[in-house]
Amino acid sequence: MKISLNWLKSLIEIPFDIDTLVQKLTFSGLEVESVETQKPQLSEKVVVGYVTDRIQHPNADKLSVCQVDVGGEEVLQIVCGAPNVAKGQKVAVATVGSVLPNGLKIKKSKLRGELSQGMICSASELEISEESDGILVLNEETEIGTLFNDYFKDADTIVEIAVTPNRPDVLGHIGVARDIATLEGKKFVKPTHTFTEIGKNTADEIEVEIEFPEGCPRYSAKIVEGIKVGKSPEWLANRLEAAGIRSINNVVDVSNYVMLEVGHPMHAFDYSEVKGKKIVVKSSVQGEKFTTLDDVERELDGQTVMICDGERSVAIGGIMGGQNSEINDTTTKVLLEAAYFTPSYVRKSSVNLGLKSDASYRFERGTDPNATIYALELAAKLLEEVAGGKAYKGYVDNYPNPIEPKEVKLREARVEKILGIAVSQDQIDTTLDNLGITKKSEGTYLVPTYRPDIEREIDLIEEVVRIIGYDSVPLKKTAELDFHSAKSQVNYRNELRRFMTGLGCHETLTNTMTTTELAGKFSEKNEPIILANPLSRDYAALRTSMLPAFLEVLRENLNKKSGTSFRFFEIGDIFYRDENVYNKAKEIKKAILLLSGDRNEVSTFVKQENFDFYDIKGYAESILEFTRFKRITFKVGQRPYFTENCLEVVGNGKTIGFVGEVSPKILKEFDVSAKNVFVFEFAFDLCEKTYQIVSKFSHLNKHPFVERDFAFVLDKTTEAGEIVEKLNRSKIKNLTSIKISDLYEGKPLAENKKSIAFSFRFESFERTLTDKEVNEAMDKILKISEQTFGAELRK
């Protein structure tokens, strides 16, 4: 809401400067967003001059040589190029030494041989208007030699306020004036308006029926004739423009003026277009078409408030008038409407129509149902003043169920209970009274209808503290802490994050929103969540996998050559539809790790190698061990976006996730230039449930262990894991670990053979093992390996 300071000053005395005003408004809930002054801030060497003489430049057709009196000792000679300069004008003169807003410095100079001691300025050169046609000619009465800045001493200052949706009362200058008065400890009094009425009665010429009282509880009207539609006087146009509304003609401007002063929108119909001397307020018929005064044909729903005459619709109530009855150059008689429309109806219709107006903005927030007559009075007065209007006597006022001020109770003790400080009954009463909230009886207040936001005790408490100032409420230094909620905040999320950084991974933050295509493609079998009103293609659905975002992160980093070694991880969410829960959505916490590029950052003496599959598998093992899964196994897995190098990761018998190599096809689709990209995606929620800090110490073995190695020659197709698993399951006595220490293929081994070297550890917590025991165990290992896998000892 743009407030004109001049307008405000016409309603209330403002005994302080603009900065103080801004401060007071902001700290009482009317946040000032900007202050813009129309007064120019020009160099003090720009003064008012009088052109005493003008002659044609002897050497240039388009230049004039002027003698200009600027109130100094000598008359200045100035060469001017503007065609409209003439003898006898009062003009703005930038004298030698002044600097114009565009940076131009004015110097004494010669133009085509003629001395020029300054410059006669145009409005655009002074930056007081966007464009200008020649030099700016000032008012004849302006005093010669005065500062040009002072010529604008009446210039307005525009204060833009961010009005919160609960304060429709400050959507007019009167409401703002009322708040300012209250802040000064005074009570605001609305101006009264007088105008002449002619002998005819409004009621004789118009009848108002309300068939839809839910949408329109009150409809007031007045007729004014003798109108001459034309341009508004400057003061009226200026005020509207200061408040951000374009001047159209005097009649339309008056209705807008009333809205901006009173806060109550109104509408003016061309009376000659209102058929049957009748206004009927109805509900629209579903599918009904109506052309609004912006020349757009609109289709209506079945519950919009329509203003109709005896034959047809003439306006959409509270939103916009109709083209068929709008004020035009030939209008001489107008029907003024000031009605109260129910906020929720206006809101619904405005949303459904996709049509907002200054009127709907106010009605949907709640105007004052008891301000309609006051609005009509001001309109009648102004029409008389600016359009020669002659008002008919009286009003037609259909208001079957008058809306009364609300009674709201307020207990002094409750103020303290909420605020934590005591406010005296006296101060409460005075503050509320200044706002127009009168005391009906002890503890009961009458809230005027212009404050629809105040309905409850808490609303009154807010008013009190808003006016006395939030600053006057002290900080309570010692919060009353009790320890009901104190509990250990061990938190897997943070622990895992730190663990991952220890593994050299960089945490990312990717978007949970994605395209519909990617949400569909990466969804396993569930339906993705698609938005009904997407922002754009990229923000149209919720992701069903974190992988696409990670491939994009990798792509962007590769494209920018921001590094050569990438270890990214993130804990995030994925989303699916789930019809069985109230919000029809399942949110699953996932985590993802991606490795690509060099295994190590560039470092001394470290041979650069690329990440390979065993890196991602190793990371997965580390993470699961950290999470304290007791048993971790891997099964051959399959994912559409991984190559055949893919494992399903199983922890404590549950699928935790997948490790894999991203397939070249997917990399190509995502324009990822890297070849080797490895990913571990896992169920964060399952890990979170499993995670526990180690709760019990395990005794260290006092007896020495024995380590023995075997290298087996095997068929190439035999997998190391099969052997380990088989041996683990064979329950070989005292065998506590099997490590794979070497892999070899090639000569002298046969083409279809490979060698795997195992290192076996034997230990007992009871005693030192004997050679014999270990040898027996090794024999058993050899035997099992030979029988099951055809293994031969490598010589």
Binding site: G29, N166, S485, M500, N511, M513
Partner: protein, 334 residues
């Protein structure tokens, strides 16, 4: 037995083993033990004392042998340590282990959470895909009320939408327990805003809620003041301006001393010395009633702030989009 001969034999054996030591085939300890150890050759020779005829002479000879060898062995310890050291190019960089980083938004969130945990708040969570009831209606946004315009909402279908703030967690938290409730709720929120330097359709908020008997506006002010001092430094001040949120009343927007210029005035704070970072207020009685709390007995406060915004201010990050680009050069800074 001739003691002289024995001493010569031990000496020549020592010379031989010394060569082995110098070639690296014998380590120092073994050399020392072989000759001077408790069961070494010298000790062994002494133990044969009774076999020698001139015991005095034998003692002399063996003692001088022992001294000679001890001296030689001791000189070796000094020599070897310098002889065996190789001079390294110490200017070469070390082999740095790869160290990862947390995202700066996580890091900021963690700092904020830690302050609240220290104040006795617990963690609470709620869904991002939410219904109108939890996101709006129970938070005192009536249907068809313009207050809903304050939040540009993404809709899924019917009454399902993406939450526009973390305040939905207030309702879930209060519905699931009796007062007192003291929780914080961090999480992702969604608004239909075109991404630019200061807007993102997905952003993170953290919200705090405290409902109990005797929770007052003074306590809200005191807690918030303590919170911003903990987060931005002791010199930080707070300033409360009346505002409007449907779910709190009285409501306030809270400014803090500009983090960048410390209140002197700069571009970040538009020369005001203050920056707006929090929304706060006393929980509206309608919200308490919506979850079945008696608003006559209980009162509470709530406040919320944007985590990315705090991170931008704290670290001087000029553009919100940097957070989501995940350029590794950016990630490595924190």
């Amino acid at each position: 037995m001739d003691v002289k001969k024995l001493a010569e034999e031990i000496k020549s054996s020592f010379q031989e083993e010394l060569k082995n030591f110098e070639n690296g085939n014998l380590n120092f300890e073994d050399l020392k033990n072989k000759f001077l150890g408790r069961k070494g050759l010298v000790a062994d020779a002494f133990s044969q004392m009774r076999n020698f005829t001139d015991k005095a002479l034998a003692g002399q000879i063996l003692n001088s042998l022992k001294n000679e060898l001890t001296e030689k062995v001791n000189s070796l310890t000094e020599n070897t340590s310098s002889a065996k050291t190789k001079k390294l190019d110490l200017s070469l960089p070390g082999r740095k282990p790869n160290a990862g980083t947390l995202h700066v938004v996580t890091e900021t969130q963690r700092q904020i959470e830690d302050i609240f945990f220290a104040m006795g708040f617990e963690m609470a969570t709620g869904p991002q895909v939410e219904t109108d009831f939890f996101n709006f209606e129970s938070l005192n946004f009536p249907p068809d009320h313009p207050a809903r315009e304050m939040h540009d909402t993404f809709f899924v279908e019917g009454d399902v939408l993406l939450r526009t703030h973390t305040s939905n967690v207030q309702i879930h938290a209060m519905k699931s327990q009796e007062p007192p409730v003291r929780v914080i709720a961090p999480g992702k929120c969604y608004r239909n805003d075109t991404p630019d330097a200061t807007h993102s359709p997905v952003f993170q908020q953290i919200e705090a809620l405290y409902v109990d008997k005797n929770v007052t506006f003074t306590e809200l002010k005191g807690t918030l003041d303590a919170f911003v001092k903990a987060l931005f430094g002791k010199a930080t001040k707070t300033r409360f301006r009346p505002s409007f949120f449907p779910f709190t009343e009285p409501s306030a927007e809270v400014d803090v001393t500009c983090v960048v210029c410390k209140g002197k005035g700069c571009n970040v704070c538009k020369q005001t010395g203050w920056i707006e970072i929090l929304g706060a207020g006393m929980v509206d009685p309608n919200v308490l009633e919506a979850v079945g709390y008696d608003s006559e007995i209980y009162s509470g406060y709530a406040f919320g702030l944007g985590i990315e915004r705090v991170a931008m201010l704290k670290y001087g990050i000029p553009d919100l989009r940097l957070f989501f680009q995940n350029d590794i050069r950016f990630l490595k800074q924190f």
